[in-house]
């Protein structure tokens, strides 16, 4: 008796979502139809490409559902998404968010505290142009090493700091036209 496997759920979800997108989203979010007539000539409209893509997704959902229904997996670690994966993604998102916030705001925050001109006028000079990148990079690399080791350590953040500093120098010193994050945004 076939079971409700992750692949069957994935196939049915792809089928339902693609069908809904084809019928509801596509007509509402494209400027021209699948085919349109301009000055007596027919041409393919902007909706054709996405319609084909949704069509492929509908076919994919059907094929996957049939595959999963007829030939249930045995003996292999089942694929799927669980709490563990979603928890990992949440941690990853938090690390990325904090790192990018530090990257974006460390320089401007320190500049507003210590200078009168603000960060923008300093962003091409040392050490200001490295501040955000090295701070954010240290947090990103250090936190990810801590995540992989399942414990935070000074060593992880020292590696992060050294890696970020070396990379900043690697990209900045020989290549004058490269902008390190966040200097293209401020």
């Amino acid at each position: 008796m076939p079971r409700l496997t992750a692949d069957l759920v994935l196939g049915l979800a792809a089928l339902a979502l693609a069908l809904a997108a084809l019928l509801l989203w596509l007509p509402a979010d494209t400027g021209s139809g699948i085919v349109e007539r301009i000055r007596g000539q027919y041409r393919i409209g902007d909706a054709m490409g996405p319609a084909v893509a949704f069509g492929i997704l509908i076919l994919a959902g059907l094929v996957l559902a049939i595959e999963a229904w007829l030939k249930p997996v045995s003996g292999q670690r089942p694929s799927g998404l669980g709490r563990a994966q979603l928890g990992f993604l949440l941690l990853l998102f938090v690390i990325f968010l904090i790192s990018l916030l530090a990257m974006r705001w460390t320089g401007p925050a320190l500049a507003s505290l210590l200078t009168e001109g603000g960060y923008r006028s300093l962003r091409a000079s040392l050490p200001w142009k490295y501040l955000g990148y090295v701070t954010g990079g240290t947090i990103l690399v250090g936190s990810l090493i801590a995540l992989a080791e399942r414990r935070p350590s000074v060593r992880a953040f020292v590696i992060g700091f050294l890696a970020a500093l070396l990379l900043a120098m690697f990209y900045d010193l020989p290549f004058k036209d490269f902008l390190l994050p966040p200097n293209g945004d401020v």
């Binding site: 494209t30 393919i44 994919a60 999963a68 990853l92 990103l140 690399v141 090493i145 992989a148 902008l179």
Partner: protein, 526 residues
């Protein structure tokens, strides 16, 4: 022949990188050399792969050489060097430490590591090098012969409807042969096409943006491709470490002692090398079929033959047989050259390395991989054809370097296998993000890459193959343009894809591929 000479001339007579004792060193061969060394080091480092190095180096190369036509060959030289070096270097951790740096090197561990434990690491590495470089060289010869021939055939016999049908056939084929099921491959293709279609099109209204202003320019190709390929892989591997699925034991190394190639080794492995090279070349010429399948087939076939012909004193496959290393390494290396056949002749990338060559061509301009490249115009010179023969020259030169100095450098790279991957991957992540930012200096581009990285991670969790997504993302624009032009050229014929026997055959093959290649989910082919 004129074009061949012009291609060679473009490589050796191009811009100079530096001057040595008053002699100018041409940039393209010098970059090839540097790329080869980088590639061997990257291949020898478990967890790193050629595409990662290509992704990181591309913006740096473009910054050094600019976006002029004469930048093409030096940039391609470095990327081709990485591709060739990584192919050879991948055997190092497999042989010395029983760590398959890449999935296709798993079979190499089966015989390579037992040889190391028996005190023959140098012999195992030399056999791996010899087999790998032979496979790569034979595969490149197939590329040099087949790509122009195929491209000329395509240009001569295929019109717009046939080209549209051919792209569709390629996409369905890739969906069918990659990953754990046809359905999942098709999901990747459908999503890749959708992602490419956001905010593109010919109408004033930016399509499929949900009214979100930030999506008004669509998804940048660099962020999307690096997100799925590189960030997704990093997240997946970090998750493995986080959940403790990775053993942190350091591999046991044996006392090397005096060892090296023995008399008769070359004769012993030659039939296996030739057979596996043929297998790898045929598989590599099919877009999307990975080197893992080639390695598995080469090894399995080699084991059958070895079982029948071996003498009692020779080791069995899996117990340290040099033939086992040869069968695997020749097969997986022969994939890399042949993989460029669909890129150069059809414009269809078959693997991640080809994706980065297309990205480089796209960033620099002046070279559009596809059948149009092989237009032998006379007396007008086709500059794209000169670049194509320049690429062939670089590949031949890369093989020569690999034959001569590659082996020694490869054996010296054993140290890279000891770098802990849990320290390396976060640094690679930062390097990749920096590479994205220097090309597109907006923090939004990093968030886009992160989003695609999460998508790549989810693909890996659900065993959806990620490469079809990238290939569909790249090909969606060409497919849509070809379909628009074909539809107009046939006077608005709704059945334009069935307007000739060739396009009808392609479409029937595409449909048959989907329905005949069905298999149980879980039977992944890498």
């Amino acid at each position: 022949m004129d074009y061949v000479l012009m291609g060679i001339g473009a490589v050796f007579g191009g811009p100079e990188l530096f001057s040595l004792a008053g002699i100018g060193i041409p940039a393209a061969p010098a970059m090839l050399f540097l790329g080869l060394l980088t590639g061997i080091a990257v291949g020898a480092t478990p967890g790193l792969a050629g595409p990662m190095a290509m992704a990181v180096s591309l913006p740096i190369l473009i910054s050094i050489f600019g976006v002029r036509p004469d930048a093409l060959l030096p940039v391609f030289g470095f990327l081709i060097g990485i591709m060739k070096g990584a192919t050879v270097g991948g055997a190092v951790p497999a042989v010395l430490f029983n760590i398959p740096g890449t999935p296709d090197a798993f079979m190499t561990t089966l015989d390579g590591y037992p040889m190391t434990r028996r005190g023959m690491p140098r012999r195992a590495l030399k056999i791996a090098h010899l087999s790998s470089v032979t496979g790569d060289t034979l595969s490149d010869i197939a590329l040099f012969v087949c790509a122009p021939f195929l491209a000329v055939l395509v240009e001569r016999f295929l019109d717009l409807p046939e080209k549209t049908a051919l792209i569709l056939l390629s996409l369905t084929f890739i969906a069918a042969v990659m990953g754990s099921s046809v359905g999942k491959g098709l999901i990747a293709i459908g999503l890749g096409m959708l992602a490419a279609m956001v905010a593109t099109g010919q109408d004033f209204h930016p399509r499929l943006t949900l009214g979100i202003e930030a999506l008004g320019q669509g998804f940048p190709m660099v962020s999307a491709v690096l997100g799925i390929l590189i960030l997704g892989e990093i997240f997946w591997t970090l998750d493995d470490h986080w959940r403790g699925r990775v053993s942190r034991d350091t591999a046991q190394t044996a006392d090397a002692g005096p060892d090296g190639l023995r008399k008769g080794d070359v004769k012993r492995i030659l039939p296996h090398v030739l057979r596996s090279s043929l297998i790898g070349t045929v598989i590599g010429a099919l877009p999307g079929v990975g080197s893992t399948l080639a390695a598995t087939l080469g090894y399995t076939w080699g084991r059958k033959v070895h079982g029948r012909r071996k003498t009692p004193e020779q080791a069995d496959f899996g117990e340290g047989a040099p033939e086992g290393i040869a069968a695997t390494e020749a097969a997986n290396s022969a994939v890399s050259g042949a993989n460029l056949i669909p890129v150069l002749s059809l414009g269809i990338p078959g693997n991640a390395a080809a994706v980065f060559l297309i990205l480089a061509a796209d960033s620099i301009g002046g070279f559009n991989p596809g059948p149009g490249v092989f237009t032998f115009s006379h007396p007008q010179i086709n500059p794209e054809l000169v670049v194509a023969f320049g690429i062939f020259t670089l590949m031949a030169l890369g093989n020569l370097l690999n034959w001569t100095i590659g082996g020694a450098f490869m054996r010296g790279m054993g140290i890279m296998s000891r770098v802990p991957i849990r320290y390396l991957l976060p640094v690679v992540l930062l390097v990749t993000l920096t590479a994205i930012y220097v090309q597109d200096p907006r923090l939004g581009a990093l968030w886009t890459a992160f989003g695609f990285g999460v998508l790549g991670y989810l693909f890996r969790c659900l065993r959806i193959p990620h490469l079809p997504f990238v290939i569909a993302f790249i090909l969606a624009g060409s497919l849509e343009n070809a379909a628009r032009q074909a539809f107009s050229a046939t006077g608005g014929d709704p059945f334009f894809l069935f307007s000739s026997w060739v396009s009808t055959a392609f479409m029937l093959m595409a449909i048959a591929t989907v329905f005949l290649a069905g298999r149980a989910p879980g039977e992944g082919r890498g």
